[in-house]
């Protein structure tokens, strides 16, 4: 055995491990984030290279795919040429072009992770994983289970390892097969260092060993780590730590070895002749790495250039007619609202639409009527101090039961009865659902988030508090939020009689990832409560009074109306319609028709990507099919969610109104004129970078390595403990997005386009180090558009550099509708006339 020179620092190794493990929370709190967040402190290219060589992830499309896109013209030759010239110099252009386009490379990947622990297999001929994993996953899953099992884990609340210890010490049987491991559990404190000494020997190898071990089932380890950090994410709380998991796994490994070799085995370091390369040593950039980086950028800029050229060339689109808008509608920044807004504006040229983060600046916990818990409905990093409660609603829909989820079916006589009665009904139900799908209690519907006719406690009275949360907001607090919202989107004058505030949510059935389809800015919930709350605030006379003092005069006749857009079904529900004055009531009815028509058309535009729907049908017919699709058990793609997202435009609507962006852009309204110093811009970018950047990168990585960074195909998924999915019954948890969500996605980084002077943008992003990291390390790209000249400058290496896109010819179209049936792929950027 080698001398134990290195010291093993348990605390720091655990910390490191947690940093690199997947950070996805349980399914109900699915929130998009950068899958490779651990590498975000490095430059994008460097981070990807490291992630790929250390953990074996595939981090971009394959070389063959890139070359295929190049041949197909989707990667533009001039752009590729320009990127090679910029990076490698004009004189190397030809040589590098040859490498990029023609050279053969060995693209196979042998990661560093796993190299140490693999010695068990090569030297001892023992497959520890298959001996340890099944029982480990099973016990862990049962411990964390939120409600699948009928007979719950008998010991709880004491911590994972303690619970097992308790069971082991009062049982006739054991989880272990041999004595030693059991004794270690019962009679020692299971210190990791001691266990590792026994198993691995040399302390210098401990860290590597633990990484190998935990990354052999990163899904489970990541889940444990996430629950350890935010125990409130499980409604039925469980105390669990990564340390406990590791200790138990080490014990099971010792047990497996003892079982196989009867204690006649030596610690691993005795058989490791050549110590493996340090896990986190620098990863030098090979020629292949450089080639891949060039392709990635060429792919991105081929698209970016079209968009930027479109923004510069857009001139002929008719601006909204002067005068008072017919109505105004605020939507979430979400890329899925992009096309709906376009259709609204087209169907009613006098209306005006806005985009902003879908919690509409009001952060709070929400407690639906009858709910036993609070739900956070604002961006994940925010911890609100307010509580909004629902009352006087009907809970009929929320609480509908479905006997097929009844656990009696799994019992002895209950099962006997149910099989012979409900069993036959099941055949009928299945028949119906296949031939006439309809809404059922099993459906996750955005409209169940809040009852349409319920009351909300929005205003705080008598300083009422509940569990340290203030119930409702006070007038001043309301005014601050309304002011912040209106100023950040640039809506401070010319108010229409009705201002709609439309949140969004989604409906689906048979979809464990349902939370990922809802509003990310509302922590994976529907935005209905938020839209109602902000509308209430903006309608509040006292709030309006304060707003006047702050320079925002909302006419008396103007009313705010909350609403919810279901992005799967393309339906909109409006709230508190009865509070509208009679005149506004009439206007609302007219607007309603505009919405309905726009929703039909939106459904039609979406349908072009759906194989099962004939896009040449009429919009109304298609819309009906889209609704049916959302409740069909057999439909793994109720909607395509954020797939194909690539852009985030922060600026006035006029900047991009004349450009057809094919639902690929997040749109955040912003008017530089009322924010010359970038105060509101900072707030916008603080949300845009992690929320839109997180969504974009999660799609990016789930797309390029759907097996290791995504969840694989969802068809064989099995729900584990209500918090995760796995393949089969004893597989690892699969964090990330299933292939059905990302297959049409083009993995390009988010391009944030800000309409402001570049020096203001620069000083703005520098104010917040977390936000700045996204841009300086290029995990999202940033371009500033000069608000007056439309001159572009791109953010590179800490500076804005003037930029001219490669010359583009963009086709001008009047209407996208005739083109919808032409392709299922992404459309190029068109100019709208």
């Amino acid at each position: 055995m080698r001398a134990q020179t290195a010291r093993f620092d348990e605390h720091s190794v655990l910390h490191e491990l947690k940093h690199y493990l997947p950070a996805q929370a349980p399914l109900k709190d699915f929130i998009h984030h950068n899958t490779l967040h651990a590498f975000q402190s490095q430059q994008f290219d460097d981070g990807l290279r490291s992630a790929s060589e250390i953990f074996g992830y595939k981090v971009s499309l394959s070389l063959a795919e890139f070359r295929g896109l190049y041949t197909a013209g989707r990667i533009s030759a001039p752009v590729l040429e320009r990127i090679i010239t910029t990076q490698k110099g004009a004189k190397n252009q030809l040589a590098w072009r040859n490498k990029v386009v023609f050279e053969q490379y060995d693209t196979s990947n042998t990661p560093r992770i796993g190299t140490l622990r693999s010695h068990w297999k090569t030297q001892y001929k023992i497959d520890l994983d298959s001996l340890v994993h099944p029982i480990l996953f099973r016990i862990l899953c049962s411990y964390l289970d939120q409600g699948i099992s009928i007979w719950r884990f008998p010991v709880g609340k004491t911590g994972f390892l303690a619970a097992i210890k308790e069971m082991e010490s009062h049982s006739f049987v054991s989880y272990f097969r041999t004595k030693r491991a059991k004794n270690l559990l019962l009679n020692t404190d299971c210190n990791l260092t001691d266990l590792l000494e026994l198993l691995v020997g040399d302390a210098a190898l401990f860290e590597h060993y633990l990484f190998d071990q935990q990354f052999a089932h990163q899904g489970w380890s990541g889940m444990v780590s996430a629950i350890e950090d935010q125990p409130q994410t499980l409604l039925d709380r469980r105390e669990v730590t990564l340390r406990d998991l590791i200790a138990f796994e080490l014990l099971l490994e010792i047990d497996a070895l003892d079982y196989q070799f009867d204690q006649n085995w030596l610690a691993l370091s005795n058989v490791v002749k050549i110590p493996p390369a340090p896990l986190f040593a620098d990863v030098p950039a090979t020629e292949l790495h450089q080639v891949m980086a060039i392709w990635q950028q060429a792919f991105e800029w081929s698209y970016y250039d079209q968009v930027l050229a479109g923004i510069q060339q857009e001139t002929n689109f008719p601006a909204r007619a002067a005068g008072k808008p017919s109505f105004q509608a605020m939507f979430c920044i979400d890329d899925r609202e992009c096309s709906l807004r376009r259709y609204l504006e087209k169907n009613d040229v006098h209306c005006e639409t806005f985009g902003t983060a879908g919690f509409f600046g009001v952060e709070f916990f929400y407690q639906p009527e009858g709910g036993k818990f609070y739900t956070k409905v604002c961006p994940a990093p925010v911890t609100p101090k307010f509580l909004i409660k629902e009352s006087d609603g009907s809970n009929k829909d929320k609480l509908k039961k479905d006997l097929y989820f009844n656990k009696n079916a799994h019992s002895f006589y209950g099962g006997w009865l149910i099989a012979q009665t409900l069993g036959f009904w099941a055949a009928f139900r299945l028949f119906l659902n296949i031939f006439r799908p309809s809404m059922s209690p099993a459906t996750a519907s955005s409209f169940k988030h809040m009852d349409k006719f319920s009351k909300l406690t929005i205003e705080n009275h008598n300083h009422e508090h509940e569990n340290e949360l203030q119930v409702g907001f006070q007038v001043e607090e309301m005014a601050n939020r309304v002011e912040g919202l209106l100023k950040s989107i640039g809506l401070v004058s010319d108010f229409a009689p009705i201002v709609y505030v439309i949140g969004h949510g989604a409906s689906s059935v048979n979809n464990p990832h349902y939370a990922a389809y809802d509003c990310g800015a509302c922590s994976g919930r529907a935005g209905s409560v938020n839209s109602r709350v902000i509308s209430y605030m903006a309608n509040h006379p006292k709030v309006r009074q304060i707003l006047v003092e702050r320079g925002i005069v909302i006419p008396f006749e103007t009313q705010f109306v909350g609403g919810l857009h279901d992005t799967t079904r393309d339906e909109v529900a409006f709230y508190d319609e009865s509070a509208l004055w009679p005149q506004n009531q009439q206007r609302h009815q007219a607007n309603h028709l505009v919405f309905d028509k726009a929703l039909d058309l939106n459904a039609k535009e979406r349908s072009r990507r759906f194989e099962s729907i004939d896009t040449s049908l009429s919009a109304a017919q298609i819309h009906e099919k889209v609704r049916v699709r959302s409740v069909s058990l057999f439909e793994p793609r109720p909607e395509l969610n954020h797939a194909t997202n690539a852009l985030c435009i922060v600026g006035r609507r006029g900047l991009s109104k004349g450009v057809f962006l094919d639902r690929r852009s997040f749109l955040n309204s912003y008017n530089y004129q009322i924010d010359l110093d970038g105060k509101y811009l900072l707030n916008i970018l603080k949300a845009v970078a992690p929320v839109c950047g997180g969504i974009n990168l999660e799609y990016f990585f789930s797309r390029v390595d759907n097996q290791k960074l995504g969840a694989g195909t969802k068809l064989p998924h099995n729900v584990m403990g209500l918090f995760g999915v796995a393949n089969g019954i004893d597989g690892d948890l699969r964090p990330g997005l299933p292939s059905q969500m990302v297959e049409v996605h083009d993995p390009v980084r988010l391009l944030v386009i800000v309409e402001h002077f570049d020096d203001v943008v620069l000083t703005t992003i520098q104010k917040s180090p977390e936000t700045y990291e996204w841009f300086i390390n290029e995990w999202v790209r940033l371009v500033a558009v000069h608000p007056q000249t439309k001159a572009l400058s791109v953010f590179e290496n800490g500076h804005f550099v003037a930029y001219t896109p490669t010359p583009q010819h963009l086709n001008t179209i009047k209407d996208i509708e005739p083109l919808l049936t032409s392709t299922q792929e992404n459309f190029p950027v068109y100019l709208l006339s």
Binding site: M167, F373, N395, H410, Q420, A444, E611, Q707, A726
Partner: protein, 622 residues
């Protein structure tokens, strides 16, 4: 009526063959073919059944083609239709029809779309042959098709580790069921001196007369049938395969393992009931097995924290109850129960992904911090013990290794000295000597001659044992399987005198499949360099065509009903006398291990995570 019955058997076969010819990418064409074959079949059945019911619903027996005849032996295909068939056909056709429609959209864009429907249709062929079979031989044809289609569907995601591992695992349990069926066939042949039809089994006097003098044989046959039934229906001690089979796309898990496949064990019990009904001890055994299974798997189901394994164990428990009903003679109740359970589990599995949103919502509104189940009434120690046992599935999965496969491997390790050279030198010499002796049999002393069949069968068994555990050379492993068949042929030739054409019949399929397999392995070696059996290679990723041809070779070599070897195997057994248990044991064990060794080769070479990593590869733990 008979034409109609033919139609019901042939229609799925036609659909399956047609589906093989379709191009990969044409989803609509593929799904419509499946949809129409099953849909038309369902309608034809419904029409037929109305007619049949109207005309007095008498059982129909249809003796079909005689495939081989020699002396008192006759291998013929026979079909049978009665109430049991009608119920099984109704449930099977309806569920398969619904699931093909379901999968049509569900599998959209999935790589392997065509393969999925091919396999579903192949399964449907096997299911129909099984439930319409009129004798054990015909049933065995369907049974084998069910086994292989199950293997292919579990390993549908063939480039991941766990599906392939579990597919092999399930296949190995199925092989144990096969052993039961083969031996039951062997012994019933000796009991009745013919390939008895199920129709004849209903003749109480006939069965009674035969059983009266041979009650031990009767019990043996019943036990073998029970072995086959409990392996297929996941009763104890085989239960742990069912949840592990849930690796394919959810709809395939739903009809295969939720409903149809898993109830085939019940079917074979119902079908042979007239035979074992007269043996009270067997009935008690079936009932007890069902009861114990129901109790234990209910406990296991209660602790499952994954939705599919919970449904699987709950279903096994219900099948345990069905076994009891069958044993008690309540046939109608059992059939009713089967249908209800099949529908229920299919539906539960299909909606299983919804469980998250549904139960989370329920938890959100109805949460009670401490939900207590009836188990609180146990004392602490008993409670913990039962819980832990249930979590560990009563060690059922581990026991399969401990008591079955590990001893086999240990035995085979004794043969580690064997290399290709030694093998060719040593055993080929002995074999030639054996063949020489066969032609000069009269010179062998009787005392020696009596032991020769067993000795040769044992050498054959060693061959396949070695093949099953070989880690390095793929060709060697393949060769050993072929040699095994040669040894068996030799052994049986010493056992009884029969015409050479029977041996040729037996070995013909082996020869063709063996050569094809060799050619494919050689081709792969030329393309890829080295091959071994120490791990999965996943070569189907780059060489799907070679993989398919090799699979055909595997099927041929393992006596799958596509070559005459299938009949040959049955024939071989007819030459083993009813008192030669050791010989029968060696030969049947050989055939079982053959199948395993062959599927192992196929899996290790062509399935599992691809050895090349230039593309996305899944984690081993997924």
């Amino acid at each position: 009526m008979t034409t109609m019955l033919h139609f019901l058997v042939l229609m799925p076969i036609l659909g399956f063959l047609l589906s093989l010819l379709l191009p990969d990418k044409k989803e609509t064409l593929i799904s419509w073919t499946a949809f129409l074959s099953v849909g038309v079949h369902l309608l034809a059945f419904l029409a037929f059944v109305v007619y049949w019911l109207w005309h007095g619903h008498l059982a129909i027996n249809l003796k079909d083609i005689v495939l081989f005849e020699a002396n008192d032996y006759s291998f013929f295909i026979d079909f049978y239709f009665d109430g049991i068939t009608a119920v099984y056909l109704f449930v099977g056709a309806l569920l398969t029809f619904l699931v093909t429609v379901y999968s049509r959209y569900y599998l959209h864009r999935e790589p392997g779309y065509k393969r999925f429907f091919n396999t579903i249709l192949l399964f449907y062929v096997g299911y129909n042959i099984t439930i319409m079979s009129g004798n054990l031989e015909t049933l065995f044809v369907g049974w084998e098709i069910l086994g292989i289609s199950s293997f292919l569907l579990i390993a549908f995601y063939r480039d991941r580790y766990l599906p392939v591992k579990n597919a092999v695992k399930v296949f190995s349990i199925y092989r144990i069921g096969d052993i039961g069926l083969i031996l039951a066939m062997w012994m019933s042949h000796h009991l009745f001196h013919e390939n008895i039809t199920f129709a004849k089994l209903t003749n109480y006097e006939l069965v009674h007369e035969h059983l009266q003098n041979h009650s031990a044989i009767g019990i043996f046959i019943s036990l073998m049938i029970l072995l086959a039934a409990s392996a297929k229906s996941a009763q104890l001690p085989f239960s742990s395969w069912l949840p592990r089979a849930m690796e394919g796309p959810t709809p395939s898990s739903a009809i295969f393992y939720g409903s149809l496949s898993v109830h085939v064990g019940v079917f074979i019990l119902l079908r042979t009931r007239p035979f074992w009904e007269q043996q009270t001890s067997v009935r008690i055994l079936i009932g007890t097995l069902g009861l114990v299974t129901a109790i234990i798997t209910t406990g296991i189901a209660r602790v499952q924290s994954s939705v599919k394994s919970q449904i699987a164990y709950a279903s096994i428990a219900q099948i345990g109850l069905i076994f009891m009903e069958v044993a008690a003679g309540w046939e109608k109740l059992a059939l009713f129960h089967f249908a209800g359970n099949a529908f229920l589990r299919t539906y539960q599995l299909l909606v299983s992904p919804s469980v998250v949103s549904y139960l989370i919502r329920e938890q959100f509104y109805n949460f009670a911090p401490k939900v207590q189940s009836i188990e609180v009434h146990f004392s602490k120690k008993i409670g913990y013990t039962l819980y832990m046992l249930s979590i560990k599935e009563w060690n059922l999965d581990a026991a399969m290794y401990q008591f079955l496969w590990n001893p086999v491997k240990r035995l085979a390790r004794l043969l580690d000295f064997m290399t290709i050279q030694k093998l060719s030198l040593f055993f080929v010499m002995i074999y030639l000597l054996g063949v020489y002796a066969l032609y000069n049999e009269e010179q062998i002393p009787a005392a020696v001659h009596a032991y020769l069949p067993v000795a040769f069968a044992f050498i054959g068994l060693l061959m396949v044992l070695k093949s099953f555990t070989e880690r390095k050379s793929v060709s060697m492993s393949w060769l050993l399987v072929i040699l095994n068949h040669l040894w068996i042929a030799l052994a049986i030739s010493f056992n009884e005198h029969f015409k050479n054409d029977q041996t040729i019949l037996y070995l013909s399929g082996i020869g063709v499949a063996g050569v094809l397999g060799f050619a494919m392995l050689q081709r792969l070696k030329n393309l890829e360099g080295t091959l071994d059996l120490d791990r999965f290679h996943g070569h189907s990723f780059e060489h799907p065509k070679i993989a398919l041809l090799f699979l055909l070779a595997c099927l041929g070599l393992s006596g799958f009903p596509i070559t005459p070897t299938f009949i040959g195997e049955d024939l071989i057994f007819s030459h083993i006398h009813e008192n030669q248990f050791v010989l029968a044991f060696f030969v049947s064990l050989s055939l079982i291990l053959d199948g395993l060794a062959i599927m192992r080769i196929y899996a290790r070479v062509f399935l599992g995570p691809h050895v090349k990593t230039y593309h996305e590869t899944a984690y081993r733990s997924s």
